[in-house]
Amino acid sequence: MLQYVAQRLLQAIIAIFGVLTIVFVVMHLSGDPTLLLVPQDASAEMIAQLRSQLGFDRPIGVQYLDYLGGLAHLDFGDSIVQRVPALDIVLSRLPYTIQLAAGALVVAIGLGIPAGILMATNRGGMIARILSAVVVTGQSVPTFLSGILLIFIFGVTLRWLPTSGSGSLAAMIMPSIALGALSMSTFARMTRISIIDELGKDYVRAGRARGLSMAQVVVRHVLRNASIPVITIAALEIGNLLAGAVIIETVFAWPGIGQLAIQSIQSRDFLVVQVIVLLISFVYVLTSVLADLVYVAVDPRIRLVR
């Protein structure tokens, strides 16, 4: 087992390196930020000179090694556009995305799980049908559209909530709903399936036979057992939320790393993009390793290698 863990970790490190390298190469293939930095009346010589000053005229291999060298001292470089350390920029915007993801999770879990429970216990009934419809709706609307509709209805027309910005709890409501709607469906369905699973098991029949009401059985036993797969899903959904945050952050002027990623890619601010990618791949690869370890521990058949 220990050997497996060590192997997995080594592979994880290689994977992260792989991501870094691929992104580095593809970004450099797509050009450099020089053209976007200079005023429009710059001459070809001036552009070449700036490009050289910024180091973009060196062969890509040299630039890559230079970058790795910096990484070795945990130096992630300075943003070409903002002239401040790339790591600082990303870290200053990260809390906003985390807040947004948390808000979206609150919406997704707070609405999704109760919906799932109701859909499972009320199976075939009217409530279940309506909830099903609502849940599928949440999954069928593009985020930029729900975002702009929410702003228009609740912000401009009703004036209940602020139209943009991140300065208050009220400002967090609409972006969290827009972002959480998609995940809500996943939680609802997952909860519904696990509960239905559990409801079919013997201990439920035993509990009912002993005189407990359905509600009591559900609350005392079913929910606890059904929560395991739901927790697994939560971990995966966080990845999806981070991806969806890109559009939401742009529409709502929410200053998280999603917005930063788009802007940095479009301005070819390589080093900021690299930090963001490094961060995301690190989180992702870590979850992947943990998931694999849990999987191997749980199902011994998997360990048998052909």
């Binding site: 005023p39 009346d41 002027a253 200053p255």
Partner: protein
């Protein structure tokens, strides 16, 4: 669990929430598409950064409402000879920390921006300057490499930074905590979110009109408009013409508009592809209904032009006939050139009006071209457009302003061979614009530009479409007169009484 999460979220938000959540009349809020890249005036050249830092710093000279260059820090200037100019500066200007602004700071600012070690992207605008010397505390002598009439126009863009402060804190710190002599000083810069400024009481021009100014970064235009309508923002820029009516008629909002020096134009590749043939280019010129574009897509907020230039631009001439909308003539020319069905590639990116590009595509297809739109992101677009002629597409749309109100700033970079934008070569044209840029005599320059525009008319390496009207959305009680160079100087704004 829900409550715990909400509590964590709330306390985290409290840590980062802005203290000034109540916008009172003391504060002017402006929504911009992006936050400043840097607030150090010498480290970038983009509109959003400029809109903000230009209120923190003063420049040596500036332009007035009619576009004439007028004193700001400098009070007067005189040419000692063709390559030397002497500036006299004000005696009563202080930086926001109280220290006096002297010729030292001016010379330092000039030397700083041309220093290769700073890697300023603006270097190309000032590279004709050889040196700057202090003569006495109110006099600076600037030397250029050769006679350079555009010097003053370029110096309009140079901000004066405090020598002592910059040397003390270093470039990195100066970028985070800039300090200038302008009407507003920086109180807090929440990078990526907003920039908070506060009035500098001892500003030499007088009391700044608002106690506080907040610039917010809001990338999406629909959101900026929503902010304006709910009063979250008092001023927004670049209102799309289609939303102008709703802002004009809205409660509490007004539309401010003004003719600018910005010209919408169509670039036509004269060196490669089907457009190499001048008849094809002329056909393109006849095929575009400029007035139709202005009436329908700009909702009348614009004026069709005859050349790649507009009235506020020095060197503009109305004597050169433009190309009228004549689709029959276009078809005839195409036939003559044997280019019916010619495939043209129209380069564009999300930075340019998609509706205008598609409308022009349709107009060209109607006379017999076969136009494909190739949209990519801005960086890739620039790479193609500024690269080899063979890979630079056949057409591209742009809205050009040099913020200098001089034809040299428009038709020199766009069409002089050797420039990154020009896919065109005409020696006679080159000679004309080269000469116009190197002499000081205004009458002669105007004459040269008139001739240059005539050549552009014959060769059509580009087509002037319309003069752009800037559209701003503002709170109803904001008093402000937009200028032709689209500057956002808070000193010129105030609340209506």
């Amino acid at each position: 669990m829900k409550a715990a999460l909400a509590l964590i979220a709330a306390s985290a938000l409290a840590l980062v929430a802005s203290a000034a959540s109540a916008q009172t009349k003391d504060t002017l809020t402006i929504d911009l598409p992006n936050d400043a890249a840097t607030l150090d005036p010498h480290l970038q050249w983009n509109t959003d950064s400029y809109s903000i830092y230009r209120n923190i710093f003063d420049n040596l000279i500036t332009r007035d409402v009619s576009g004439t260059i007028v004193p700001q820090i400098a009070t007067s200037w005189k040419y000692l000879d063709d390559t030397t100019i002497e500036f006299k500066i004000r005696d009563d200007v202080t930086f926001q920390d109280g220290s006096k602004l002297t010729a030292e700071d001016v010379a330092f600012s000039i030397k700083r921006i041309i220093d290769p070690a700073l890697k300023s992207p603006q270097l190309s605008q000032f590279d004709q300057i050889k040196s700057a010397e202090v003569v006495d505390p109110v006099t600076v002598k600037v030397t250029t490499k050769s006679a350079y009439p555009a010097l003053l126009a370029q110096l309009v863009k140079l901000s004066i930074v405090p020598k002592a402060y910059v040397e003390k804190v270093g470039n990195q710190e100066f970028n985070q905590k800039p300090m200038g002599s302008g009407p507003y000083k920086l109180t807090e810069w929440k990078k990526g979110i907003e920039t908070d400024l506060e009035a500098y009481g001892s500003y030499w021009r007088g009391k700044p009109p608002f106690q506080k100014v907040v610039f917010r970064a809001v990338p999406d235009v629909s959101t900026r408009i929503a902010d304006l309508k709910t009063g979250k923002a008092d001023l927004i820029r670049d209102v799309p013409p289609d939303q102008a009516a709703s802002i004009k008629d809205g409660d509490g909002t007004q539309l401010l508009s003004g003719a600018t020096e910005r010209v919408g134009y169509l670039y036509i590749n004269a060196e490669a592809g089907p457009t190499k043939d001048v008849r094809v280019r002329q056909a393109i010129a006849y095929a575009i209904d400029k007035q139709g574009l202005v009436d329908a897509l700009l909702e009348g907020y614009g004026a069709a032009v005859n050349v790649v230039g507009a009235e506020p631009v020095f060197g503009y001439t109305d004597k050169v006939a433009g190309y009228d909308y004549d689709p029959e003539k276009a078809k005839a020319l195409l036939k003559e050139a044997g280019a019916e069905g010619a495939k043209l590639e129209f380069l564009t990116s999300p930075s340019y009006s998609r509706a205008l590009v598609e409308a022009m595509q349709q107009m060209l297809n109607d006379v017999g071209f076969s136009v494909d739109i190739a949209s990519s992101d801005q960086a890739t677009f620039l790479k193609r457009r500024q690269g080899d002629a063979a890979n630079a597409g056949s057409l591209a749309f742009g809205a050009w302003s040099c913020a200098c109100q001089d034809a040299d700033g428009i038709i020199f970079p766009l069409f002089r061979s050797g420039s990154i934008w020009a896919k065109y070569k005409n020696d006679k044209y080159d000679a004309l614009v080269d000469e116009a840029r190197s002499i000081l005599d205004e009458t002669k320059r105007k004459e040269l530009y008139a001739q240059a525009y005539e050549i552009l008319r014959q060769d059509v390496p580009g087509l002037g479409l319309y003069q752009s009207y800037a559209l701003y959305g503002a709170a109803k009680h904001l008093k402000w007169e937009p200028t032709a160079n689209e500057a956002l100087f808070v000193m010129d704004m105030s609340w209506q009484q």
